[in-house]
Symmetry: D2
Subunit: 362 residues, 4 copies
Amino acid sequence: MGKQDLVVGLIGYGYWGPNLLRTYVESHGARVKWVCDRDPQRQARAKTRYPSVTVTDDCNDLFRDHEVDAVLIATPISTHYHLARRALEHGKHVFVEKPLAASVAEAETLALLAEARDRILMVGHTFEYSPPVVKIKELLDAGELGEIYFIASSRVNLGLHQQDVSVIWDLAPHDFSILFYWLGEEPTRISSFGRSCVHRSTPDVAFVNLAFPSGAVAEVQLSWLSPVKLRRTMIVGDRKMLLYDDTESVEKVKLFDHGVNPIEPNSYGEFQLSYRTGDIVSPRLETYEPLAKEARHFLDCVHDGTRPKSDGRSGLRVVRALEWAERSLKRNGETISEPDAAARWGNVHEIPVVRPQSIALR
Amino acid sequence: MGKQDLVVGLIGYGYWGPNLLRTYVESHGARVKWVCDRDPQRQARAKTRYPSVTVTDDCNDLFRDHEVDAVLIATPISTHYHLARRALEHGKHVFVEKPLAASVAEAETLALLAEARDRILMVGHTFEYSPPVVKIKELLDAGELGEIYFIASSRVNLGLHQQDVSVIWDLAPHDFSILFYWLGEEPTRISSFGRSCVHRSTPDVAFVNLAFPSGAVAEVQLSWLSPVKLRRTMIVGDRKMLLYDDTESVEKVKLFDHGVNPIEPNSYGEFQLSYRTGDIVSPRLETYEPLAKEARHFLDCVHDGTRPKSDGRSGLRVVRALEWAERSLKRNGETISEPDAAARWGNVHEIPVVRPQSIALR
Amino acid sequence: MGKQDLVVGLIGYGYWGPNLLRTYVESHGARVKWVCDRDPQRQARAKTRYPSVTVTDDCNDLFRDHEVDAVLIATPISTHYHLARRALEHGKHVFVEKPLAASVAEAETLALLAEARDRILMVGHTFEYSPPVVKIKELLDAGELGEIYFIASSRVNLGLHQQDVSVIWDLAPHDFSILFYWLGEEPTRISSFGRSCVHRSTPDVAFVNLAFPSGAVAEVQLSWLSPVKLRRTMIVGDRKMLLYDDTESVEKVKLFDHGVNPIEPNSYGEFQLSYRTGDIVSPRLETYEPLAKEARHFLDCVHDGTRPKSDGRSGLRVVRALEWAERSLKRNGETISEPDAAARWGNVHEIPVVRPQSIALR
Amino acid sequence: MGKQDLVVGLIGYGYWGPNLLRTYVESHGARVKWVCDRDPQRQARAKTRYPSVTVTDDCNDLFRDHEVDAVLIATPISTHYHLARRALEHGKHVFVEKPLAASVAEAETLALLAEARDRILMVGHTFEYSPPVVKIKELLDAGELGEIYFIASSRVNLGLHQQDVSVIWDLAPHDFSILFYWLGEEPTRISSFGRSCVHRSTPDVAFVNLAFPSGAVAEVQLSWLSPVKLRRTMIVGDRKMLLYDDTESVEKVKLFDHGVNPIEPNSYGEFQLSYRTGDIVSPRLETYEPLAKEARHFLDCVHDGTRPKSDGRSGLRVVRALEWAERSLKRNGETISEPDAAARWGNVHEIPVVRPQSIALR
């Protein structure tokens, strides 16, 4: 650890926090000074594993510590907003687990606040830092698949039912952040269909449809109930097609040189197509750990003052899609369509900034 | 061939007709007398392969032949109604390839007409005669899966784009007939989402959502564009779960003794669940050919005067769902919901029968 | 059928004969005149399906018919020699199902006889005409895999126990013909290990090891007893590696850009290796039917007087390996090694030709 | 940690040692007092992770410490014998990583010494403590598969070439210990076939054949060179068959109700078989960690004075098979057969015990 090490504090040492702690402890250029959690057992666990860390149950200890450069938040979704806001107001850089916040209003405020205060705000859209997702982004940007016709994604398994949120808020942040990252756009229409199977008031299976400005459409299957675990995405473009299966240990990404080509109409003006099935290539993937890459990116952004790939706006886009999908589900699949919603955020500087000073705490 | 052999005529010797011809030629108790097709090359092909069959380009030859007991129809969907109607009016039993007809109105008339004339009308919902689908029906009826929460089905591959119909009319008849057969009910709400990718006016990818009176919901993925071929259905019940993969050569059906059980709330009234992952069983399946089984069933029904499993009403149910799904697609995913539609057909005898005499031909 | 159609007669209409009949009937440039089988039911079946063919139970009918150019033999292995020999002596070109004959002595005589009489003798090593095996041969010849280290092949399933031959004589002809075709050499050492499980005197599981002059080694697993069907071959070269799985419907061949590279020894002279795992490519395969390709090749060779890919010598090489493998099995795995055996056949013209006249029939 | 905690010392903190350290630190009833390794970096790593442990580079520190009950050895194979012997002579209980020693002579001495000194000697045949292997043992013991015909096992991947040992000594200990545990017997005949591909003097691919007194045979494929990772074992019995694939995350074990049944010979005395393909069941497996189970077993045996499942004799059996397999490989596949070898060890008490006092150190 050198003199310029960034000093970091972690809030939340439950399900995910230990992964963040381990990752930041092992990252070059960072020193984890604080771990905050209300649960004494969790505090003890953190202390035993990393004796050099100071534990506390009061997050103000982190906020007030002038040595602390950045705060990592891995608490329940409902608390993200208040914790992140206070951290930003105390001048800290902030990393929040996905989703950024529990509503569009909250997410907007956080994104604006970070920009107004010139602090880094980054959301833990970890898949955007994983080798297969990054490789696919490269293939898409290089035009390998051509224009994207549609994307179909399945994220299902016999999973941990959440008490406070639906399967959409729990699992869709992964797919939404991946989709928006790949396509470089956000949806203008969303509808969803599903059911609360085990608990009457908690949707645990949902099928979400999204339409994008480019014409691309997507369908996302989400479920906590499934005999098998699926982490599979199919991308169909007008040049090539791709399959991404995150449960595979080796061939996670396969690029198919398959397609359909319209043939010049014959004399009868008939519909003619030719099908092409060519080579299938599974490109070599990098082998780094996504979490380490994500932490590296956050630390670099804080250090250099650059904007993170998964910044506040990215977090907001995901939260907006979550909110729409959830609303559609409650309205029996009604399509939620606000073509202006996305546009509104075109340039943050045109929006009357909510002055952070005027945001009352508590 | 004995004296009591049923005499059969086939109309349509294009893509599917040759399969029917081979199957009925090899069925005991049937004699194929006629093959009708307008294309001289197809006629020649039928004649070469089965010299004992008489070929013609005029279907009236079949209708007027008093020796003909039953007519098999394997022509484009748009012609099903007229051909089947005329065959019924000439007193023939009728087997029609799926879907039964091109509209609910047509399908209703055919179903009513067959009942009024006391003729067998059977639709080629072949999967209802396939070993895995029948085995799953047995498991469902025995209560092995308990109450059905949801069913998710994928039928996608790089496929034959149809010129005159959407991917829904082409592929969904399989899934709809299977779903209604398994659940013993028809949907009261349908919505669909999709896109016309290759041809502007022909939907080639669609995601169809269905809600059933029992509470079960289903989602069907359909596409002519896909890097891989999927024929996969997941059924989740409150007791067990099941996976049916028709592309597997051996373990097509797998029954998972997996589930989620609510635990009595603790003192804090908290949400508590226990997950169960038990044995996985792939039951032995019969090895008969579905087409032969279907033909056998039709011949037996004609012979015995019994109602086929996939009768006119079954065909109508599928056509109604197709019509709704297509309508929803055209209306940007609007939910089509006619709770009475299904009920109306509760008992055909309560419906004022449209007298077949009064149905004008053409 | 034109004037120059080659006239063909088939002997043996049991398990495999019908496939040959169908294939040759559908081949351009051939006319099947005769089908010979002793079983009246089989004769009837052939006649019903192909009324233009003449059936007989006497193979002399074919041999004596001057119109007959070529004879196809699909009878039990033990009869191959006598039938093929007589056909050759009557001046017919001959196609024999694999393996060519029941012993090296028989196979040698047939190969010599065909060469002496200047007749085409071809063995039905069908895999040598299948798209994946041909594609792999191209990759090997292009040096894609580099020097071949080893090949491991599995051909097991719950299979048809043969009454008269071991699992080696039944299944190994496939693997041996493929291996020798790929490597362009035949083994100088063979050993095998196995067991007669179901019947005391019929080996039904065997593991055969082969060593080739180039240094390549191979291992072939053969079994009529297996819970699953495997048709899988792994090829490891010093540049790349390959997997060929014939049970896959799509990605039958996968080329792995994987390898191990020795690194220059460090100062301690230590063993240093670098592992490379690169792209995995599943090349597009042709889609023709192997049987049709094989028939086409035979007809072309007969027409043009060219030597078939799987000629008599190729058949002999396979029979020799079968004989060695079987001998090793009987001698508890003793290695059979006759380095000169292969060499002996270097040039047929140096061998004193056994005059066909002097070979007494029966 | 209570008063009766067993005190443990670990020798070797290289590739595997850290796993043992973590496991024993987390085991109830044990206290790890010492970690011994000559490498200062490794010492530092152990100290950082577990500050309560004392590190040393002198194993005598452990041997002389009267508080130490048991010594864990995770060093290179060539050092196992000397370290284990000295530990036993100092009255320690000993756990050694597999294989027990580098030769039969060494293994015999260790096994005898432990028995003579009444100390626990256990070998780290970890798979014997893994849920799928234990489940299969239960199925075999319950007679589910009937008499075992044969077992075929593949353990191949693009792997870590070892500098000092062949692929047999590196990988076969897994398969041999599993096979002998399942079958309850050791082989009387072994032969092997293979090649040194990358380094002239280090075999890196081998096919090992084993024959057992019961009649069962086995074949083990081992390779450090392979495009894919295989960890697959097929067991064929006369009642049922089984597939064990350790690379599967869920269905690691599948039991096939498949088989072949001889039918009473008909009047012609012909060979008649009936094939049975029934249900396929993937039984639920326990989810414990094999390493933790193994550590638990060692600690319990030390505490209770009971004989471990993988005791010195078990270790000896594996070493003997390794020695034979290696010898066969060097002799070009010659079968190594010493029917008495196994018998000799029938009862240790009949063997003149080599008095530990008389075994000179160094």
